[in-house]
Structure formats: C-alpha cells, structure tokens
Point group: C2
Chain length 329, copies 2
C-alpha cells in the first residue's frame, strides 16, 4: 500500500480512503490511486486491515457434518448472503462431537470473526461461556428452544413432526412406526419423536412402535424398518427422523416388492432434493434450510450495523409436502 501511495503521489491513508470511502476522495486522486494499484497488482491485505479495525468480515460456521442436505442448504444460504456483503466463511465440521465443537469454536475465535453460526442449541458449557465473553455475534440454528447464547433461527421440530403425524393418521394408517435417530444430546430429534408420539396419542393409536437406530442414513432406515416389522408384522406406515432414512425404507420396499403406499406408507423429514425424485415421491417436512442460513446471515450483518435489528429469535416454520408415498386415505 505504501508503494501504491508513493506511485500515486499521495499518503497511504488517502489510498486507504480511496478504497473504503471513495466519496471522501476527489475524483482525480481516486483515479490516480486506482491506476497505481492496477499497475502494481496491489491486493489490499485484509489481515492488516482486520487488526487495525478489529472487524474481520469473516463468519465462522460450525456444522456437525457436510453429508446432509439440511446443513448444506443452510451453509449455502449463509455463504451466498454473506458474500454479497463481502464477508467470507470459515468452515468447520465437528462430526456431532461436542468436544470437537468446543475446539472448533476456540480455534475460530482466534481469528476474531464478526459472527459465529452454530448448529443446534446444545453445546459444551465452555462454548457458551467463551462465546459470551467474546465480542462476536452468535447465531444458533436448527433449534428454537433456548436458552440461547445470543440469537437463533430455526423452527419447531415438535410442531413439524406433530403435523406430519396427524397427516399420516388422517390417511387411515393405523399401525404407524417411527424410525428415530436418538443421537445423544440432539434435542431436535427428541422433539420430532415427541411430536410424532403426540399425533399417535391423539388418535388413540399405539405410540410404542419406535426403532432407535444409530444411523441417520439409508442403512438406518433399512434396519429401522426391519426392527419395526419384527415387532409389528402388521405395520402399515413408517415415519423417519430423516429423509435419507425414509429413502432407505423405500429402497427396502422395492427390494421386497412391496408397493408403496399400498403395503406401507412412508414419510420423512427434510425434503431433500431426492424426495421429489424417488418413486412414488416422498411425503416429508420441508424445513427451509437455505432460509435458515440467509436469516442467520441477516442477524449477523444487522449486528454489525450496531444495535439489534428486529427480534434475535427467528422462527422460519415448516411446510408439509405431500407426495405419493402416502395413500389418499
């Protein structure tokens, strides 16, 4: 930058202003600075800028896994919205491990990001403590039950599962099983299960057909289905904690030659892209993961402008998407 200033015949702060606040610089000087920068191939050093201004225009994102369209959508929404404002994303994956998460947050904090986006609202106690002490906007996503460290955006998993459960019941299914993913400390999965249970209770149906599997993927759906059938051979519908599990169930039905939705109704959670593609179409809950990312970005950006913009707890709701995997009732 000193080189640019010399070449343009101005001071280095004029160069700085010429980039940051061009309106405060005369057109002629702006021109000369731009030309000098171009000739020198000058790339402003944001590291130095960050140190001097104590604003980084970086946001740290902490996700449990990349292998899940839900968080991918959120990441994409976050990244897109932030990029528009010249922010960049620092990404860490924790593998659903609280201690990894705590380590990630600590490492992120060293970079002095302007914001940190966490997945879920259950963290190592040290995380909340450290984060509250730090000068950083924090958004917890995918969970709406506090207490929150700072801000949050999500939806009610319980309400969504309840709505889905009621739909399945309304279609005349009577022996409804649930494939759960009871990951320790993942409250959102407990909430889904609880909503489901309520729907069955309301209808006076047996709520005990639950298979807890340790896999949120295809194999989890398959083994969940098998476990449920072993307990209830007359099972007529299966709801899964994730779309991928539900797809696993559909695949297993295809293997067995079982027609869906006649022999078995199937529903999932997430509305991944494949849900609309797989025959006969998967009934599921659309959760607006991308919207969560965008909203998280807005919250962080709003905080930068000073003061909070609107409410720091955002409920994005959900939508039930009805497809061929449930019969007409």
């Amino acid at each position: 930058m000193a080189d640019v200033a010399r070449r343009a015949g101005v001071s280095s702060m004029t160069v700085s202003r010429s980039f940051k606040t061009p309106d405060l610089v005369s057109a002629a000087v702006r021109e000369r600075v731009a030309e000098a920068a171009r000739q020198l191939g000058y790339v402003p050093n944001l590291v130095a800028g960050n140190l001097a201004s104590s604003r980084s225009r970086m946001v740290g994102a902490v996700v449990p896994t990349l292998a899940n369209s839900n968080f991918l959508g959120t990441l994409k929404g976050l990244s897109d919205r932030l990029r528009q404002e010249g922010y960049q994303l620092l990404l860490t994956e924790t593998g659903y491990d609280r201690r990894e998460e705590a380590a990630a947050v600590a490492a992120l904090l060293g970079r002095r990001p302007d914001g940190i986006v966490l997945t879920g609202a259950e963290h190592d106690p040290a995380v909340a403590r450290t984060l509250r002490g730090a000068q950083v906007a924090v958004v917890e996503t995918w969970d709406l039950r506090g207490p929150f460290i700072d801000m949050a955006v999500g939806f009610s998993h319980r309400a969504a599962a309840l709505a889905l459960g009621r739909l399945v019941v309304s279609r005349g299914y009577r022996r409804i099983g649930y494939v759960d993913f009871p990951h320790p400390q993942l409250r959102r999965f407990r909430a889904r299960r609880s909503g489901m249970r309520k729907a069955l209770d309301e209808a006076g149906l047996d709520p005990s057909l639950v298979a807890a599997v340790g896999d949120e993927g295809y194999a989890g759906g398959r083994s969940g289905l098998e476990a449920l059938l072993a307990r209830a051979p007359d099972l007529d519908a299966v709801v899964c904690a994730t779309d991928v599990q539900a797809i696993g169930v559909l695949f297993e039905c295809a293997r067995r030659g079982w027609p869906v939705p006649e022999r078995l109704g199937v529903a999932g959670f997430g509305d991944f892209e494949i849900a609309a593609e797989v025959p006969p179409g998967l009934t599921t809950v659309r959760t607006n993961g991308r919207g969560i990312g965008i909203a998280a970005a807005e919250l962080i950006l709003g905080r930068q402008e000073g003061g909070r913009t609107g409410t720091p707890i955002v409920d994005l709701g959900f939508e039930i998407v009805l497809r061929g995997s449930l019969r007409d009732g």
Copy 2:
C-alpha cells in the same frame, strides 16, 4: 497478551514463546504463563500473529457447488487433514461461473492464505496470473491435464470412462447411450465422453447415442433417457456423466416398470453413497474425492515446510465398482 505477560511477570515475547515453542521456555515460566492465560481467558489473536509472521494457517477452497458429494468428499478430506495441523478452511462457492471464481480468488488472496485449492484446471486467465504472482501454494483438483498454475491432484476422467465403457460392452450390451453434462469449459466432462466413445468405437458399436443435458441431477438423467429412447427405442444400456443422473434413470425405469438390468443396463460416475443403496445397486466409477482433498492438504502442508515434497502432480486413479445395474453378460 500484554495482560497475560504482566500477570505472569514476564515479557510478552516470553508469553508468545510459551505458546509457540514451549521447549524454549523453562517449565516454571511456562506454568505461570499458562495459569495467567487461563485466569484471563486469553485467546491469542491469530490476526495479529498472521500479520507479524506472514503465515496465516488458512487455506482457501473454491468449489463450484456444495450440492455434489464429489466435492463434499474433497472438502471433507481437505478440512480434516488441515484441522489436524491447526489450519482452517475458508470456503467459497462459485456456481460453475468463471467470473465468480476469479472474484472468489481475489477476495481470498486478501486474507493471505497459505494455500488455495481450486476445482478443475480451467480458470479465468486473470486467476492464473494473480495466483502465480501471489505467495501462495495452489492446488488444482479433479483434473490431471495441465498446464497447472502450481500443483494438482486428480485422476484421468478419460481412462475411467474408457474402463467403464469397456465393462458395459463386455456385459453384452450393444445399443449403449451416454448422458452427457456438457457444461461449457468443463473439460473433465468432455474427457469422460471421449473415453466412453473410445470404448464403443473399439467394439464397433454406434457411438452416436449421446444426449447432452444441462442438468447434472436426477432430472438430467430422466430427460437424457427420454431423448435417447426417442432416437433409439432399442437402447439397452445407459451410462451417465454423474451418479445422480444415473439414479434419475433408475427412478424413471422404476416408474415405467422396466426391470434393471434386464431391460436396461445403467452405470454412473462418482460412487456417491446412494449408489450402493439404490436397488439393484449402481455400477459406477469410484473417484476417491476424499483422497483428493487429503492429498491437496498434504501438498499445501509440504510446501509450508519449505521446498516441495515429492511430485506436485498426484494421480489418485479410480476404481470400477460393479453392482446389480449391469447384467452378468
């Protein structure tokens, strides 16, 4: 840090040393510094550290899209390996747009990352120029045809498609169609098509059954299949440029009640997780996306140690995975 130094009764450079090179500090002092840091909740400011040392321990990753298991695997491998060494990942998505990519690289460079990982080896001319001028290790991934900016890791898409094509031929299929994703300037897709064509030529089969679709997803597979059938009702096998397209073809077969592999053989490219799950199992090319990420990380880390470690062009090869979507021959 000054606070920590004061509290521990040492100079701030001793604090710095105590963290960076503990061996050079006496155990007693190390102890006092650690204690003071703990009490003060001290988090070293890496921004300042980076500026002073001109090393950032950040790596920028530029991917066309997050919605594709291939790059996700690479990202994951990269992120995992880098995290072990205390590096962090700066992520940008470009949407297969060269200008977005150029902008992303410019923005990344402002952070002075120690390395940049690009997808593919075809970039805006400005990218190569800027990057060569910068003090940064560059790895181009998923393509092995240079010229490269710096280093590269990938495999031969042509050889992989050729091997897959030969396999399909060996299974007795004779009217083999190819669903292409001819994205402008995505050489790797051209290479796949070329390998496929060679396999058909060798066998004296008609290589003209190609459907170019603008969608690398499920819908692309479906529309590709329809286009091919319109031209060749006796089509007996379809190879797709991506697994997701191939899954789209399998779903369309299911909708039509066509048995796979009897009525139609199907093969894909990528070995996404679903390939093993979807009935009857998708024959495909396994491309080791995760390995690409790990290798890219190694190349960058090696460069940090000074000097190049081994060859800067890494061929990770591929593997044909045979599953039920092709008949026994």
